[in-house]
Amino acid sequence: MVIEMRLTEISEDQTVRLVDIHLPGEQKRRLMHVGFYEGIRIRFIRRAPMGDPSIYEVCGNAIILRKADAQHIEVEVDV
């Protein structure tokens, strides 16, 4: 079964697949440049001590995103 959710709802060390990015074209492109495109696996690494931002592993890179931006990223996970 596949569960769809937002990237912000991911739990520690979980791996998900990216479905879509609901952001305006320019911002979407920027995310794609650092590796966020459809079908890619995203692993959640850690949250900052104050709860935001968070580090995600994409294509072997650690990328920092804020909650405000990450919540527009739609992901899915197999259960």
Binding site: Y37, C59, A62, I63
Partner: protein
């Protein structure tokens, strides 16, 4: 001589600078790209009687124009005559780096691929089939690390060769994508002039895909219709094109064999502690305390040595050499030029150490971690995590702190942070606090001084909120930051950065600052040759009433000391010394070359020794000022509110216009408008704050 333009392009943090350093023997010019605060680095080297300009383009992930970095790089590559692209990639992270390589091939410019960090590739047990990769990409591939001295010649050779290559890059596409692209090319070929080569067709195809207007118009002028054009490039929407390239990448990664992506593993182990929920902040604070302590204590003995060397040794010999000149001229050279420039130069060791630490932070990868830790708390004030580092450096010296704003991620944040830096109390302001605190707050000096620092921080945060209501400083940009793996900093890059900045500082100290010094000296010397009756003193007397509501205006001496603080804040102490004590100049000791050289050598020796032995905390306050001056300052005010007046003065010195070197740094980085805004702020804010403090507390006390 033939001149070639070589552009170094790559993702951020892949070692482009290190390669330019290596190839140019670290001899390059540093400036800013027009209009933005992004460093531009350029070196000119002569190889085999031909000149090569090596240009460091800002790190970028793709040829897009969303961020400033992308825009500069993309526009430069598209519009300037570039003879060769050196695409530097992180060999441990090819799957992401090669995306840019695919984009760069579109430009149809001769190109080289340098696989940097090859030493790490071996460490992580990654195997790269460079020959196959080279064949597929149709590019020469050089698997060398910038740390590897023996390969510098090979790279140089490769550049000289590749520059004459005739290139024709077809986009690397698979399956259906390739077929669609082929269709587009066939369509274009029909309309293009007969003499067009395959390369031109690819170039036009790519331009059409990216919807470049000029190319589209060109095509229509060759009698193609807009409808036809639209239909032909329909499958290649911009986003779609990106996806197509992303689909191509796995086929390139066939040539890279790695057991498991464990490149990040070591960094993640360190990060477990460094970014830990509970220990992250304490470790960071500990780190910075140690860092600032090393910077302060390690540089102080050298600062003293430079002061001793210029103001005693050099002054003595100069005085002897110019004793035949009229008195006023002698004074100008000794008190105006020598003492003034000397005063600025004494900060060189402090600055060099601060720059060194900053470069280490950046090169090692810890800078991004700090940004990560502090992002949430700084965002409350519309700042970002990296602003924190700039502000922190400001406690050492505002000049490198302004420079550090360059490492921030967007232009508005940079400007905002640069405006806030002067609120951080730099090392030069400390002597003023020490003097007034020991005169008025016996026993509570440390607390009072700390509270001054606190007021500076508080006001910076308040001003951040105020400025961010202005249109120019509000940002709604996406925040994407890569967390690079920890790396041992390349010392050649670190030392280069320090050298460049110190050189620029010394240069400014002997040009712009020199004129400021001479003007200020003249104002405090003429018309009668005595400070107490100089123009500046008269000016102090005249404007003192304006400062009466602030408490300290009742004594014009304190007001007259303020303009001088623009050279360096600590000059307030020297100025008060002249005003209040009218101290007779101590005659220089008799000249004896042998003794003097011995004494200088001895002073330098002990400075070196002390700078290492005194790395541990040192009581700054115990050094104190000479007692007569403390007494004289104590006598400034004797009424009930004397302490409050002194405190109000300390706050005013903290917040008033930063020194000329800081203003110069703001001007160089951000131009006239921000400089004016900064000056205006630092004129009104201190007045209002001191006014508030004095009026409010005089009601309570």
């Amino acid at each position: 001589m033939k001149e070639y333009q070589i552009a170094f392009v790559g993702n951020p943090n892949v070692g482009k600078s290190a390669w330019i350093n290596a190839l140019s023997g670290a001899d390059f010019k540093v400036g800013n790209w027009p209009g933005v605060t992004i460093e531009k680095k350029e070196a000119r080297v002569i190889w085999k009687e031909e000149a090569y300009h090596l240009i460091d383009l800002p790190g970028t992930y793709a040829l897009d124009e969303v961020t400033n970095e992308e825009r500069i790089t993309t526009q430069y590559l598209r519009e300037e005559p570039v003879d060769l692209i050196v695409n530097v990639v992180d060999a441990t992270n090819l799957s992401r780096n090669l995306y840019l390589t695919l984009c760069l091939r579109e430009l149809q410019i001769p190109m080289l691929l340098v696989l940097n960090f090859m030493d790490e590739v071996d460490k992580y047990h990654i195997r790269i089939e460079t020959e196959k990769l080279s064949r597929r990409l149709q590019l020469p591939v050089l698997p060398y690390s910038a740390l590897d001295k023996e390969h510098y010649d090979d790279v140089q050779e490769a550049i000289c060769m590749a520059i004459h290559n005739d290139v024709c890059f077809a986009p690397l596409l698979d399956g259906e994508d390739a077929q669609r692209y082929y269709d587009l090319c066939t369509y274009l070929e029909r309309y293009m002039p007969q003499e067009a080569q395959t390369r031109d067709i690819h170039k036009l195809a790519i331009q059409i895909i990216h919807k470049e207007e000029i190319a589209c118009r060109q095509l229509v002028s060759w009698h193609s219709s807009w409808e036809e054009l639209h239909a032909a490039c329909h499958p290649f929407e911009e986003e779609q094109w990106q996806r197509i390239y992303q689909r191509t990448l796995p086929s390139l990664m066939r040539y890279v064999h790695e057991e498991e992506a464990d490149r990040l593993r070591i960094s993640q182990k360190i990060d477990y502690y460094v970014l830990h929920k509970y220990w992250g902040f304490p470790i960071c604070f500990l780190f910075f305390s140690v860092l600032l302590m090393i910077v302060f204590n390690g540089s102080a003995p050298f600062n003293d040595f430079i002061d001793f060397f210029i103001n005693q040794m050099l002054a003595k010999y100069t005085a002897a050499a110019i004793s035949f000149l009229p008195a006023a001229l002698q004074q100008l050279i000794l008190k105006g030029i020598l003492a003034g420039v000397g005063g600025v130069l004494t900060f060189v060791p402090l600055m060099a150490l601060l720059y060194f630490m900053l470069a280490l932070l950046e090169e090692s990868g810890y800078m991004s971690r700090i940004a990560f830790l502090f992002d949430r708390s700084m965002r409350v004030f519309h700042l970002s995590g990296k602003s924190f580092v700039s502000l922190l450096l400001g406690f050492g010296c505002n000049v490198p702190a302004i420079y550090a704003t360059r490492t921030l991620d967007n232009e508005k944040q940079k400007k905002l942070t640069a405006l806030l830096v002067p609120f951080m109390s730099c090392g030069a302001r400390l002597p003023v606090y020490v003097l007034f605190a020991s005169a008025f707050f016996q026993g509570k000096a440390a607390v009072m001084i700390l509270s001054i620092y606190g007021i500076g921080i508080l006001l910076a945060l308040i001003m951040a909120l105020v400025y961010s209501r202005m249109k120019g400083f509000r940002t709604k940009e996406l925040f994407v930051l890569e967390l690079p793996p920890y790396r041992l900093p390349s010392m050649s890059v670190v030392f280069q950065k320090v050298k460049q900045e110190v050189k620029a500082y010394v240069h400014k100290a002997t040009t712009i600052v020199l004129w400021a010094m001479i003007a200020l000296w003249a104002l405090s010397y003429f018309p009668n040759g005595s400070t107490q009756d100089s123009y500046i003193a008269r000016f102090g007397k005249m404007v003192a009433p304006i400062y009466e509501p602030l408490g300290f205006g009742t004594r014009w001496e304190t007001v007259a000391a303020l303009p001088g603080s623009i050279i360096a804040k600590e000059t307030v102490v020297g100025f008060l010394d002249q005003m209040l004590l009218n101290s007779e100049e101590e005659p220089y000791e008799p000249i004896s070359l042998k003794e003097d050289i011995e004494e200088t050598a001895f002073a330098l020796g002990s400075a070196c020794r002390e700078s290492i032995t005194s790395l541990l905390p040192r009581q700054v306050l115990e050094e104190g000022e000479d007692d007569s001056l403390v007494q004289a300052v104590h006598g400034l005010w004797t009424d009930r509110l004397a302490n409050l007046r002194a405190f109000s003065y300390m706050v005013y010195v903290l917040l008033s216009i930063p020194c000329v070197m800081t203003l110069q740094a703001v001007y160089r980085e951000y131009g006239r408008r921000l400089l004016l805004l900064s000056i205006l702020t630092m004129l009104f804010v201190p007045y209002l704050v001191s006014l508030f403090i004095f009026q409010f507390f005089s009601l309570i006390l």
